[in-house]
């Protein structure tokens, strides 16, 4: 466990030396990166040691704070969440050397590295803390550091606004968590986390509701996702990768940990998480389809993936409620594997999107085009992430989705009729998968293929070596889990056992046996594609490749005539118009000889921009009005207030 503490300290302090160096020059960016890598090395050693048992897995020190105790413990469940954190922090630090160099960002480079280290450290503590006070402390450090990461470019209005919304959202969530931990203390008797399955579910309803709200707000489950798109879009790309890839998973971690405390769970816990998951998944990806800012689009995909994870968690909870260990095991194993997978491919996608932004200076997908010729490596990284996120074989996304499907189909094994309904997670997942595929065909096709749509895209260049180097391990892990899924199965089995001891009755080898087949088919697929591809390449040697695309006889096709991101998604977005309400302006043809026109489409967030904003604005106006009436400056009225207050107090005292 000391390794983990050393890791947290090293990563947390990595940005501090830079503060004492002048902002001109490199301001210690390389030492900071080396410190982070050192810390990650310590962390990985600690995790490996704790899992294999050659170093202790817990650490306790008394603490002066009432109810507080410096209790840390690393079990397999924490390890599943911790491994992607360590990897993404390391990749983000290396990536930052090329993406956010101090000489180009003298004003905010040092601040960024300080908070990047702090959030890494806070994440490690959040995931290993075994005491509510320590947990909340680390949670708050994490929330504040992410606020400062989001507002790195605080001079931009967009970043300030996103940061403010995030701050409000996260503190609302923290408030719910305060209440939740207080109730939990009433139930278990101490602020130390209770052991797994030690609490009876009675009285858990309020705890679960508060936890679902607080943790769901952090994770970004659908009606609570309001802060997510803006924040991920405004932060620098490697911060977005960290926030989206691993930070929001702490919400899922909270839910998983919280549900592990209870012995028997009422079915409505599982149903509500399942329903929220389906809503987040389907509408997350539908909103993503409608976006044309690449980082907002990826942020909505995070909402979608959190939805998928929640589907798995819901299936697992139902499995526990209805006493179906196989269902539990497949659901929780799928959810945990998807946590790892999403951490890998979403960071990969954000980092490669950063590389596109670095090269072109814009986030508009419609201003890219033809980038694959100018950024061949970035293109391959993005394609790998896109295929993985769409859940297609032979990458890692397919493995976790396969577990979800197996889990959902296993619901048929239940005695009770109601649990059969859990099988509906499967078609929801299929719809989400189809929409995600459409969305990534759109992004990859519009951004990387075709002709450049702007001068910036035509002048784009490949990312520097440090950025490419940072993306490589992420893609490598995606392929590794996709082609050798058996290697992660033992970790998942142990984590599932930590979550619910009942899963010990089923060995993961039987339900996970298909994974060997899937991996085999994956290898077969890759081999056949490579062989056929090389064959085609040999046949095509010397073929003319300088002619222009056939334009149906039109002689002067221009890059602006290509299909755009909005037009590609238009059909599908139209099918979801009841929830999306895309705003469209212009584009009408009025005359026989039309004049040059403009078309603009925009899809604001339904919850934030159509519900919360107008609602809060109305409330603020109402309170202003009320205040103007109450504070009207007439002394007589103020005296009346005093008299009424005294009278009410008198009344209260006499009646009680």
């Amino acid at each position: 466990m000391h390794w983990i503490i050393a890791a947290a300290l090293t990563i947390g302090l990595s940005g501090v030396p830079g503060l004492f160096l002048p902002r001109q020059g490199s301001a210690g960016e390389r030492p900071a990166c080396i410190l982070v890598l050192l810390g990650v090395g310590c962390g990985l050693t600690g995790v490996a040691g704790a899992l294999s048992g050659w170093v202790g897995d817990s650490f306790t020190l008394p603490w002066r704070i009432p109810g507080g105790e410096l209790a840390l413990r690393l079990d397999s469940l924490s390890a599943v969440f911790l491994l992607p954190v360590l990897l993404v922090v390391a990749c983000g630090a290396v990536y930052g050397l090329g993406y956010w160099p101090q000489r180009e960002h003298p004003d905010n480079g040092r601040k960024f590295r300080l908070f990047f280290g702090l959030i890494g450290s806070a994440l490690i503590i959040v995931l290993t803390a075994r005491n509510a006070v320590l947990f909340l402390l680390a949670w708050e450090v994490m929330a504040l550091s992410s606020y400062f990461l989001i507002t790195t470019e605080g001079e931009k209005v967009e970043a300030r606004r996103a940061g403010f919304i995030y701050l409000v959202a996260t503190h609302t969530g923290t408030l719910a968590l305060f209440a939740m931990f207080a109730l939990l203390e009433q139930l278990s008797g101490s602020f130390t986390f209770p052991a797994a399955q030690s609490l009876a579910a009675g009285g858990g309803a309020a705890i679960f509701s508060l936890g679902l709200f607080g943790f769901g707000l952090k994770a970004g489950l659908m009606p609570l996702h309001v802060w997510l798109p803006g924040a991920h879009a405004a932060a620098p790309s490697h911060a977005s990768a960290l926030l989206s890839g691993v930070m929001i998973k702490t919400g899922i971690y909270g839910l998983v940990r919280l549900t592990s405390f209870f012995a028997d769970l009422p079915p409505w816990w599982g149903w509500s998480i399942l329903a929220l998951g389906a809503v987040s998944g389907i509408f997350g990806v539908a909103f993503a389809l409608a976006q044309h800012d690449i980082k907002r689009l990826l942020a909505y995909h995070s909402v979608e993936n959190i939805g998928i994870i929640a589907l798995g968690l819901g299936i697992a909870l139902l499995g526990r409620s209805f006493d179906l260990p196989a269902l539990t095991l497949l659901g929780i194993a799928g959810a945990l594997l998807h946590v790892i997978n999403h951490g890998l491919f979403k960071s990969l996608l954000f980092l490669s999107a950063g590389s596109m932004i670095h090269a072109t200076g814009t986030r508009e997908i419609d201003h890219y085009g033809g980038l694959l010729k100018r950024q061949p490596w970035t293109g391959i990284f993005f394609l790998g992430g896109a295929v993985a996120l769409s859940g297609l074989p032979p990458f890692n996304g397919f493995i976790s989705e396969c577990l979800f499907y197996l889990g959902a189909f296993n619901a048929f094994a239940g005695e009770s009729r109601t649990v059969h309904l859990a099988v509906l997670a499967a078609p929801a997942l299929a719809l989400i998968g189809g929409l995600a595929l459409a969305c990534f065909v759109k992004v990859f096709g519009i951004a990387f293929l075709g002709e450049p749509r702007s001068d910036e895209a035509a002048r784009a260049h490949e990312a520097p070596r440090s950025m490419r180097l940072a993306m490589l391990p992420l893609l490598g892990c995606c392929v590794w889990i996709g082609l050798l899924p058996m290697t992660v199965a033992p970790l998942l089995q142990r984590a599932a056992l930590d979550w619910s001891a009942r899963t010990g009755e089923v060995s993961l080898t039987a339900p996970l046996a298909p994974l060997a087949w899937v991996a085999g088919m994956g290898w077969g697929l890759i081999l056949t594609v490579v062989v056929v591809g090389l064959w085609l390449q040999r046949l095509a040697k010397g073929a003319p490749d300088t002619v222009s695309t056939w334009g149906c006889g039109y002689a002067l096709p221009g890059p602006r005539m290509q299909y755009t991101a909005s037009s590609f998604a238009d059909f599908l977005v139209g099918l979801f118009r009841f929830g999306l309400r895309t705003e469209r302006r212009g584009g009408e043809v009025t005359d026989v000889f039309p004049v040059p026109g403009h078309f603009h489409s925009n899809t604001p967030d339904s919850v934030l921009d159509r519900l919360l904003y107008p609602g809060c604005r109305g409330a603020a106006r109402g309170f202003t009005w009320l205040r103007a009436r109450v504070q009207n400056g007439l002394v007589a009225v103020y005296l009346l207030y005093v008299a009424v207050t005294l009278f009410v107090l008198l009344l209260l005292i006499t009646t009680i």
Binding site: P393, A438, G450, E451, W517, T546
Partner: protein, 304 residues
């Protein structure tokens, strides 16, 4: 095992283009014409194979990856699906998910290859293809769920196993009939047939699949055509097995029953194409959502 694998591959690779010939012949007979010979698709493939390539200067390696994946995926997927009473060579719990997702991979690369040309025509085709497919996917899953519920297993071999014959005679006949219709619709959508798409013309703005492959040439185009024929056969195998669940015990007789069923299916597709007009584009999502509802009803019937 090896013998089964070889038999499967031979049946698939040799007979797939014949189905296209049968469809064209049926349509010709309905139209009062003699029509192209039954073996014309084979000659077309041979002709394309001898031709050279032309590549647009816009394209990258993704453009060439489209046909490659489009040809590889149906071959691999065929190894998971039973051909009539001949069981699939590879079978494991959950292979139906791999089966569905493999076609997703093919769709990803075909659509990306279409966008690689930079032509707005092909962009249009790609957009429609992904739209229709993602609406067809839930129907497919619901149908598979009905089958899984009836079979009590999760591999395509057990889903389309020997119990189907008894199931058709029992109370499960109604849901089976419903999902047979649903799977037929999915088959028509996925293989871009009338009434959802017209495989004969690509010059109209309404076309889907054909317009995506406009810029492919020579052997690459041959791969696409061959891949499409294989896909029809692989997806058709689901429908045929569902409709003709007979088991004879002799492998050659089973193979003959299967091939006969496939020919009947091809004739059926030809008849549908002859007597129906192409649907308006905006109607297609409505039909697909309607089919999803029908499949949900089938699920309700088996869960009852």
């Amino acid at each position: 095992m090896l013998g089964r694998l070889l038999l499967h591959l031979v049946l698939l690779l040799v007979f797939a283009p014949l189905l296209q010939g049968v469809i064209v012949k049926t349509k010709a007979l309905f139209g009062g014409r003699v029509g192209a010979p039954l073996l014309q698709p084979y000659w077309d493939l041979a002709r394309l194979w001898r031709k050279g390539f032309v590549f647009s200067r816009t394209t990258t390696w993704v453009f060439r990856a489209g046909p490659v994946v489009g040809l590889t995926v149906p071959v691999l997927a065929s190894l998971l699906v039973p051909f009539g009473a001949l069981p699939a060579p590879f079978s494991f719990e959950g292979d139906l998910i791999l089966f569905v997702y493999l076609f997703g991979l093919a769709r990803f690369f075909t659509a990306a290859a279409a966008l690689d040309t930079g032509s707005s025509f092909e962009g249009m085709g790609a957009a429609r293809e992904v739209t229709f497919s993602c609406l067809a996917e839930p129907t497919m899953l619901f149908a598979l769920m009905v089958l899984a519920r009836l079979a009590g297993g999760l591999s395509l071999n057990s889903l389309l196993g020997t119990h189907l014959q008894a199931a058709w005679k029992g109370p499960a006949a109604a849901p089976l009939g419903l999902i047979l219709v649903c799977l037929l619709v999915v088959l028509l959508v996925e293989n871009s047939r009338i009434p959802f798409d017209d495989p004969n013309t690509h010059l109209e703005l309404t076309m889907v699949h054909e317009v995506m492959v406009l810029d492919h040439s020579g052997p690459a185009f041959g791969m696409i055509l061959y891949g499409a024929a294989l896909k029809l056969m692989v997806l058709g195998a689901l429908v045929v097995r569902l409709a003709l669940p007979w088991q004879t015990g002799l492998w050659w007789l089973d193979a003959l029953v299967f091939l006969g069923g496939m020919l009947l299916l091809a004739v059926l597709i030809g008849v549908v194409e002859s007597i129906m007009a192409r649907l308006r584009l905006v109607r297609i999502p409505q039909i697909l959502i309607g089919t999803t509802l029908v499949s949900i009803f089938a699920l309700v019937l088996v869960l009852r």
